[in-house]
């Protein structure tokens, strides 16, 4: 009787282990993040009430960056156009793809006298580890932490979601500090590079 019970326990173990087999991730993901990405599943595309519109003056902010130096939006006033890329959170599927693309497109930003600021609501150590995974040398653009007070800048820009992450959003701001392009994107999708390229070109008009 006891032996039979042991046998059943073994069978249960095997079945339990089979259930726990790793589940394959979506096709076409980068091998750089193999096994390190948390998949939140499909999310509500938009979960905030944007307050800004094209033509508004971009709200100023100062945030700590992963290099240790704080970065302020007003630093660039009169000097360069600014693209702000908010992504919802580190170590999530679409975000982990988006910035590595921008990282090889420095020329696109340079040609349009633009700099890029990447912002998430994560803390500095998390952002440091995550961006090192994108490139051993780190990214060419400042990566800023909107961690504390939590999501304050995302909130100012009207894109803080109800779970404390930000929307996946792009803001293009000209040298005068005026917002010229807004793309508060479906959080589940990556914004097309050509749309941002066109917005940058339109700054010349």
């Amino acid at each position: 009787m006891r032996a039979e019970r042991i046998l059943w326990v073994c069978v249960a173990c095997v079945l339990f282990a089979a259930v726990l087999r790793p589940i394959g991730t979506a096709h076409g993901g980068s091998a750089a993040f193999r096994d390190t990405i948390y998949d939140p599943g499909r999310l509500k595309p938009l979960d905030s009430n944007p307050t800004l519109k094209v033509g508004d003056v971009a709200p100023d902010f100062t945030l700590p960056s992963i290099t240790g130096n704080p970065v302020s939006l007003h630093d660039y006033r009169g000097r360069a156009n600014v693209v702000i890329s908010f992504v919802p959170a580190a170590w999530t599927p679409v975000c982990s793809d988006q910035w590595p693309g921008y990282n090889i497109m420095k020329g696109l930003f340079d040609r349009n006298d633009a700099i890029l600021l990447g912002i998430t609501v994560d803390n500095i150590p998390t952002l440091y580890a995550w961006t090192r995974q994108m490139s051993e040398k780190g990214l060419w653009f400042p990566v800023l932490s909107d961690f504390y007070p939590h999501g304050a800048v995302a909130s100012k820009y009207g894109i803080l979601r109800t779970n404390g992450e930000s929307e996946r959003a792009l803001f293009v701001i000209d040298r005068k500090g005026v917002i010229r392009y807004i793309d508060v994107h479906d959080i589940n999708k990556r914004p097309r590079l050509e749309d941002l390229a066109r917005a940058l070109q339109n700054l010349q008009n």
């Binding site: 032996a3 042991i6 046998l7 073994c10 069978v11 173990c13 095997v14 339990f16 282990a17 089979a18 726990l20 087999r21 790793p22 394959g24 991730t25 979506a26 096709h27 076409g28 993901g29 980068s30 091998a31 750089a32 193999r34 793809d97 988006q98 590595p100 693309g101 990282n103 090889i104 497109m105 696109l108 995974q133 994108m134 490139s135 990556r190 097309r192 590079l193 050509e194 390229a197």
Partner: protein, 201 residues
């Protein structure tokens, strides 16, 4: 053998199996000494169409003359190496020079340059993104956009980059013989593996 011993044996086997299931990495490490790092399973390459390149040199490279679409099996060579990559994939970016080296090594070998063609398929990238990658890394072979990732899905690609070797007859026949779901480190060895696995050597 007593019933007790039999039970112990079954339990041990079950526990071992459970461990392997729970720690697949460990299983792979154990199997590494006997397994290839690529799959040499032969199967028909699933059918999909690509647009014939507008660039004349690229059309000539693939041996295609008409407008419209083509299948991998229409390419005039004996082997086609497909790289599934993404503009947004950091490993594809870092690895691009080695892929370039493969192209140059094939071109430099009189016995291979007419036998092998290379193409890139940019999974989940728009045409603009695929072109940006090609320009950034000076990719010498044609690349195509797979914007919705449908081709990657069809080919069973989970991660980029993935390299697929296909035997072709230039008349639509296409047989997959090689599948490497990761980067290679040695371009010469990669070409040797492709040739050896194809059976054309």
């Amino acid at each position: 053998m007593s019933i007790k011993k039999l039970i112990v044996l079954v339990c041990a086997a079950a526990a071992l199996y459970a461990c392997f299931q729970l720690f697949p990495g460990g299983t792979a490490a154990l199997a590494q000494t006997t397994q290839l790092d690529y799959s040499d399973r032969r199967m028909p390459l699933p059918a999909f169409e690509l647009p014939i390149p507008q660039d004349r040199a690229e059309r000539e490279y693939l041996g295609l003359s008409d407008k419209g679409t083509f299948k991998v099996g229409d390419i005039k060579s004996q082997i086609v190496i497909i790289e599934i990559f993404s503009f947004y994939c950091p490993i594809c970016q870092v690895h691009a020079p080695l892929v370039h080296e493969v192209y140059e090594k094939i071109k430099a070998r009189a016995d291979l340059k007419e036998k092998i063609r290379m193409i890139g398929i940019a999974a989940t990238n728009t045409a603009f993104e695929a072109r940006s990658f090609k320009e950034t890394y000076n990719i010498p072979f044609p690349v195509f956009s797979d914007e919705e990732g449908e081709i990657a899905l069809l080919l069973g690609v989970k991660y980029t980059p993935t390299f697929i070797g296909v035997k072709v007859d230039g008349k639509g026949g296409q047989e997959q013989f090689y599948f490497l779901p990761k980067v290679f480190t040695n371009p010469t060895r990669f070409i040797e593996d492709i040739m050896k696995t194809s059976g054309l050597e």
